[in-house]
Amino acid sequence: MSLAFDDYGRPFIILREQGSKSRVRGTEAVKANILAAKTVARTLRSSLGPKGMDKMLQSPDGDVTITNDGATILEQMEVQHQIGKLLVELSKSQDHEIGDGTTGVVVLAGSLLEQAESLLDMGIHPLRIAEGYEMACKVATAHLDSIATKWDFSPEEVEPLVQTCMTTLSSKVVGRLKRQMAEICVKAVLAVADLPRRDVNLDLIKVEGKVGGAMEDTRLVEGIVIDKDFSHPQMPKELKDVKIAILTCPFEAPKPKTKHKVDIDTVEKFESLRHAEQQYFIDMVQKCKDAGAGLIICQWGFEDEANHLLMHHNLPAIRWVGGVEIELLAMATGARIVPRFEELSPDKLGFAKCVREVGYGTTKERSIIIEGCPNLSAVTIWVRGGNRMVLDEVRRSLHDALCVARNLVRDNSIVYGGGSAEIACSLAVEAAADKVVGVEQYAMRAFAGKVVGVEQYAMRAFADALEAVPLALAENSGLPSIESLTAVKARQLAESNPHLGIDCNDAGTNDMREQNVFETLIGKRQQMFLATQVCKMILKIDDIIQPSQYD
């Protein structure tokens, strides 16, 4: 591969190891990128919606994951192509920001690029397309704001929250139990929510699980579950109204950080060292006892001797508790984390109503459940499922639902699902592109007048791309996709009712208000922003230089 030749036909070497690099330029490059992005999007397309199918992913080590969570699929696919990776990132950022709609955002981006491809064929410059998309995105999001409704809820009236969570869960494997799961999620979120500040710290909700049992056994523990057992097999398995000391120092002989040596050269020294050692353990346990603790939770291990002394003094203890759990426990029980025995005092102890150890089935695995903490600011969702893959998928689904509930607490605006929002936006964008002001009197009125030139095409393309979402929904639900889409679109126009969507659940009505299918406004808006941005980025690339695959 060469770029230029001198008089004798020898190539000028510009890039290092030029011969071994392949290079794609111009429209070719853009098209190659679009193709790559489309391929990724196509993989996810069939997972969209309540009737979406799952993907089975086998990791390099042979572990199997079955999921229909977009972010998880992309992450585990190990996409190697650079542009493919962009889409993986896209889905990930939707996951981090919103937590739901990870499939939708990729499908939207893929379809935007698909539309861009035909515009490129018309000879429109990629940047003009990008600009047109940008404008269209503004119109669409403005329209979203105008069709959004507020759903007021209070801790007593949680129905709207539950409904929204149910929409999210209906596309997952837990669809069968969506009511139960949605209620669990809402309860969990409300338990940790800071309603006046409209903030939810999802770190306080742990989603833990154990294989076995049925999904129906999943429940909310108003407290913390740790996957440990009591340090001594004979400690009581159930404690009531217990004071908890949380320690981050080991029940072991001291280990000063400075390098030192203790030299023993006489028998007396040997004796005294022995006594000091024994005394050391006794002191440690005594200090805990004196502080009034009834349960010790320690980040480190115990010496056998200390362990027995604890048991002897009726001080149940849990060892090797991880750092995250320690912090959660401290928050929930109101205990202070104590790094040294000397600093242990009664006011630093936490409190819990009930601490108990539970076992499962025929194995010897056990967990400790800590309930009835004074600051009910940490909860655990305890998931059960028939096998590991189900369990993992339930956990992912619950995570999505939790995010949705959190978003609603933050901002209680919602839009209707089932593709209705996309169709409405598509109509609005089209109207804006045609400079038609009238049927849809929305925010882009001032803006629409300015659209002259090729951007118009790009905006129309955007409108078409938006329709990909309802189209995929209908396809996955086994409906005649084009027919149902056009029918809904016609009705939306005729009735100017933005709540009409695809009837995926075969409920007999297209009005999403009746079906109670909602999504959060921020989630939808974020999807459009992110998808547009990624498209813009991909369209701007006009040159790919990469080392040859075969060297």
Binding site: K31, M53, M56, G62, P233, D263, L273, N387
Partner: protein, 532 residues
């Protein structure tokens, strides 16, 4: 210069593969059905065993017909097959039995689903149908279950029947009455706690399976120290976890530095002294038996022998915990307060001989719940398999004690569920009803397989059963009678199964089948390159 790429080329890592749509579905169906067929022939009382040869050094051989064990040992590369492996393992962990049934049922469900997909029924519709069928089946199963928990006599009989049914499919089938008695005795000793830890199984090669016995007490496969009493009555036992070699100094950085040989001697003496004191403290607890988890050196052993205390070393962690539970003592690591340590006690400790080996036998223990089952058998393979079988039976019995509802066996629950589902399917509109009928057919495959494995005319028997259940819905007690080779009354034959196990089989199998059905795309990442 490559301008356009073929779809997926270069998208995934080199070596990765993707299968889509029909192909993916086909791959998972084939994998799952193959897995089910693998264990299918082991189902039921006349099921055959498998030989598993390990890949590791020694090429160890296991002979088993325990579904979970077989599946665990098979190396599979098909993701769907892995799902089935997993449910079988979970079934084992959760209830301990039915590990083969669950895989066979899931496999049959998928086989039926495959045909429906062939008839252009959407997988989601099949799943919807399966879910409804599962709900109907679960309701029917609950209605069919009965409990004798109020009548201890009848309940014991139930337990015996369940144990016999479970054992009849295993190697112990020849002596199933004997082992059923053993298992039920062991479980009833637990007094409903269902804590299987108190039942200890010891395997000793030699003798016949029939010579296996239940010992009311505890048997520890360890040795008593030299020169110590071999028999102690009214034993007071201190159970400990403490180093009895040289007690290390735990303070970090301590080292001994001496400047003369005499000093070395002094330190050594001090060390000995320390150990002597420790032993004395232990003896001061007023004990006559000392059991340590760790090793006991000759020196302390000698001291104990002098004091007439029996000392047992190397009781591993499991043994120690179980001993502590059984003898009612605490596991001690410090010995400063003799009065406060709870000692274990038992009536008699003695050394007994089983076959060639000497074992330590604790009888009249504080915790009357404990017992030991000593298995005898001609070879280690037989013993291993007997252990697995007995473990299955104990697990099932343990679950049954907790959840006393029972069902008849021999395909009776499956026939009942199938009939109920078919009834419901008739009233269900839409394509879902096809899936429900398929579910019923899959359930009937279980008695069919049992009969097939026994070399019986399965079609005839299942048809007879179906007629019997259809004629007398809800009251018929007909199931497959292996011995007569025909349909028979399950109550008279005494073939019982635990409700919990059957329910778990139903739920797990449906869940797994649903999971696999939902997949329309399989992406396999490139296998990790292993260095070396």
């Amino acid at each position: 210069m490559a301008t356009l790429m073929a779809p997926n080329q270069g998208m995934l890592q080199e070596g990765a593969r993707e299968e889509k749509g029909e192909n993916a579905r086909m791959a998972s169906f084939v994998g799952a059905v193959a897995m089910a067929d693998l264990v299918k022939s082991t189902l039921g009382p006349k099921g055959m065993d498998k030989i598993l040869q390990s890949m590791g050094r020694g090429h160890e051989v296991t002979v088993t017909n325990d579904g979970a064990t077989i599946l665990k040992s098979v190396y599979v590369d098909n993701p769907a097959a892995k799902v089935l492996q997993d449910i079988s393992k979970v079934q084992d962990d959760e209830v301990g039995d039915g590990t083969t049934s669950v895989v066979v049922l899931a496999g049959e469900l998928l086989r039926e689903a495959e045909q429906l997909v062939g008839q252009k029924v959407h997988p989601m519709t099949i799943i919807a149908g399966f879910r409804e069928a599962e709900a109907v089946a679960k309701a029917e199963l609950t209605a069919a279950a009965f409990s004798n928990a109020e009548h201890p006599e009848a309940f014991r009989n139930d337990l015996l029947n369940i144990a016999r049914t479970t054992l009849s499919s295993k190697i112990l089938t020849a002596d199933k009455d004997h082992f059923a008695e053993l298992a039920v005795d062991a479980i009833t000793r637990l007094k409903g706690s269902g804590n299987l830890e108190a039942i200890h199984i010891i395997k000793k090669a030699g003798g016949a399976l029939k010579d296996s016995f239940l010992d009311e007490g505890f048997i520890l496969d360890k040795k008593i120290g030299v020169g110590q009493p071999k028999r102690i009555t009214d034993a007071k036992v201190l159970i400990a976890n403490t180093p009895m070699d040289t007690d290390k100094i735990k303070i970090y950085g301590a080292r001994v530095r001496v400047d003369s040989m005499a000093k070395v001697g002094e330190i050594e003496a001090a060390e000995k002294n320390k150990m002597r004191e420790k032993c004395q403290k232990i003896i001061d607890h007023g004990i006559n038996c000392f059991i340590n988890r760790q090793l006991i050196y000759n020196f302390p052993e000698e001291i104990f022998a002098d004091a007439g205390v029996m000392s047992i070393e190397h009781a591993d962690f499991d043994g120690i915990e179980r001993l502590a539970l059984v003898l009612g003592g605490e596991i001690a690591s410090t010995f400063e307060h003799p009065g406060e340590v709870k000692l274990g006690s038992c009536k008699l400790i003695e050394e007994t001989m089983i076959g060639e080996d000497k074992l330590i036998h604790f009888s009249g223990v504080a915790l009357g719940e404990a017992c030991t089952i000593v298995l005898r058998g001609a070879s280690s393979h037989i013993l291993e398999e007997a252990d697995r079988s007995l473990h299955d039976a104990l697990c099932v019995l343990g679950e049954t004690v907790k959840e006393p509802r029972v069902l008849y066996g021999g395909g009776w629950p499956e026939m009942r569920m199938a009939r109920a589902i078919e009834e419901a399917a008739k009233k269900t509109p839409g394509k879902k009803s096809l899936a429900m009928e398929a579910f019923a057919r899959a359930l009937r495959q279980l008695p069919t397989t049992i009969a097939d494995n026994a070399g019986l005319d399965s079609a005839d028997i299942v048809a007879t059963l179906r007629a019997a259940h259809g004629a007398d819905p809800g009251a018929s007690r007909m199931g497959v009678d292996m011995i007569a080779g025909a349909a028979g009354d399950m109550r008279e034959l005494g073939i019982y199964e635990s409700f919990k196990v059957k329910q778990q089989v139903l739920l797990s199998a449906t869940e797994a089948a649903e999971m696999i059905l939902r997949v329309d795309d399989i992406i396999r990442c490139a296998p990790r390159q292993r260095s070396g």
